[in-house]
Symmetry: C2
């Protein structure tokens, strides 16, 4: 029999334990993927059987029992996981904010609630990204200095990892929001081991004054921040790497460009595989870049580890998202990000000239 | 000795000739590339020596004589080309509109003037794209229904060619401008041989209502046009192909995404080359995709063939831009585009309900 814990009931959760050997409890949303819950169940079962990737992870599967139980039974995995009941997913054509607000029992709200209550250390979902954002924004505390969480993706390059944000959370951004994302991205990169992160603004042409109105406004603002702002960077930096550690953009551009890069990697390596007698090595590179390039995105800006992936994710990709969640918790990346961010926000505030109250008689 | 023709003096131009065997006269801007005029001179000399790519092309090199003559002499090509004198390029950090307006002797204005006067059939430049656009917009007549020319790129995919526009001309677009680009792109695709072009709007998520404010507005408008509008398409379509023939976007997103795809193709094939004992075939694919993916962009919306390429173009790429210009002229692609576009604009106009004059006494 699988055990179930009531969502949001902290007393039912395993006792918190600060020892580094403690298993990281990940609430995994069964619902919302394009191909249905089987992909997520496959990932869970594969992780449970994997002595490396599965080590140190305890999965809490979030979804309807009548969906989860047959899926696990078919896989001979009925007893492997804790099940947390939830009624439904937020559909791709729903208004995510309204759905999360009004449906207490939707799976992403339950999963996020487990993080809030401490019953889980992290939540992972391949459902509607807007719903994950809404659930995180409503259900979790905010990190300092951010009016909205950003979708922060780690992009592997031959010259090291980049943080790209926002990758789809806020399609219509403002210069000030991009400035907030720049600080949050720099704090996240520092928490991941980059001492003095270089921050670039994704734009067209690197000369000052290039880009659209949003970029021209943001470039002026980013130059005033207490981060190493290197100026504009072009789209090629995402695959080439080396110039910056953080790439700041709006959620529309970030999402379009990530999908385009993913498609280009796939198509190029298909072509390469076709021109060799042995396509194996090219396919291996394709697999590595596919699993690496989109190993989930952290919702950066809330005080809880929430990882999201695209709806068309494979089971391997879902397992990679769980691995990101586990590492983020185990290394206290979010705690360190929050501390760095608080420091940057304070430095930004103290560097802005404070105007005295305007005299009413002037 | 090289011969020179005064720019804009139609009487000095070779007589117009409608026979299909006539050589296409391409005004090639020597200036404005990131690496200086030597790259353009290399391309010109290589084309002159190439019995296939160079056949049917007559190059008019536009630039200062004291720059052009030594470059050609070094390459043993002093007598191969017509030189057209010009004073300078528009620098990347100049305001292109002001520069083109005030400097009659800048090379892109001279090159465009040769097209205007009939002394050349097409102009090709790897200088400041904004300056090429400004020179075309000021110097040439407009095609019907377009308030601004778009930068239209042909993107090769495994399932056929796509027209992507705008790829950098207008970073800040409006829904109505995207509608104009949709009609122009459809007309161009039809002129290039696609009977009923499918038009997609580059966005995030394909559900209605997804995307930013510009995309939500544009999607409503595009659905009313006399074209086969299939709705939203994601970034992956640019490499994968197959869903649409025309991808409509603003110049900011288009440019960022093209640079990102180019970078991803390069990086992926570098990785593939490294895992095989013989990197040759992977490098060949890289060369093909590099030359193909950015074989110049047509300035779509003016009554003259103007092809632009990025400032970092190689000599091979410049030669590919000349080939695009030649084919566009030889196949009368622009003439057919103009006729299809006029028809679409007329159909759009006649489908819009006409309101009677408002009564002043109401």
């Amino acid at each position: 029999m699988t055990t179930t814990v009531p969502a949001g009931d902290r007393s039912a959760a395993p006792a918190a334990d600060a020892s580094p050997a403690r298993r990281v409890r990940v609430a995994l949303d069964l619902l919302g993927g394009d191909a249905g819950p089987a992909v997520v169940a496959d990932a869970a079962v594969a992780l449970a059987a994997d002595p490396v990737a599965g080590a140190g992870v305890e999965l809490l599967l979030v979804g309807p029992a009548d969906v989860a139980e047959p899926l696990l039974a078919e896989r001979g995995a009925a007893d492997l996981f804790t099940l947390v009941p939830a009624a439904s997913a937020v559909a791709m054509d729903e208004d995510p904010v309204a759905a999360v607000r009004h449906r207490r029992d939707c799976s992403i709200r339950i999963a996020t609630g487990l993080v809030r209550s401490g019953a889980a250390d992290a939540a992972v979902s391949i459902g509607h990204t807007g719903a994950s954002l809404a659930a995180a924004a409503f259900g979790l505390d905010r990190l300092p200095g951010l009016v909205r969480p950003a979708v922060a993706v780690l992009v592997p390059t031959p010259r090291g990892e980049l943080v790209l944000l926002d990758a789809g959370g806020t399609p219509d951004a403002t210069p000030d929001l991009l400035a907030q994302f720049a600080l949050a991205g720099a704090a996240y990169a520092r928490a991941r081991g980059v001492d003095a992160p270089r921050v670039g603004l994704l734009t067209i042409g690197t000369e000052a004054g290039k880009g659209d109105a949003l970029r021209r406004g943001a470039a002026e603002l980013l130059a005033t921040l207490p981060v190493d702002f290197v100026g504009g960077v072009e789209g090629g930096v995402l695959a080439r790497g080396g110039e910056v550690d953080v790439v700041v953009t709006d959620g529309f551009t970030g999402n379009v460009v990530l999908k385009a890069v993913e498609g280009a990697v796939d198509a190029s390596l298909e072509r390469a595989a076709a021109v060799y007698a042995d396509p194996g090595p090219a396919r291996d590179v394709q697999q590595q870049l596919r699993a690496g390039a989109h190993a989930g995105a952290l919702l950066l800006g809330v005080d809880g580890v929430c990882v999201v992936g695209h709806g068309a994710s494979t089971a391997d990709e879902v397992a990679a998202y769980v691995a990101l969640a586990r590492a983020t918790v185990a290394d206290d990346v979010l705690g360190r990000t929050a501390r760095h961010l608080a420091e940057l926000v304070e430095r930004r505030r103290s560097s802005v000239p404070v105007l005295g109250p305007a005299g009413s008689g002037a």
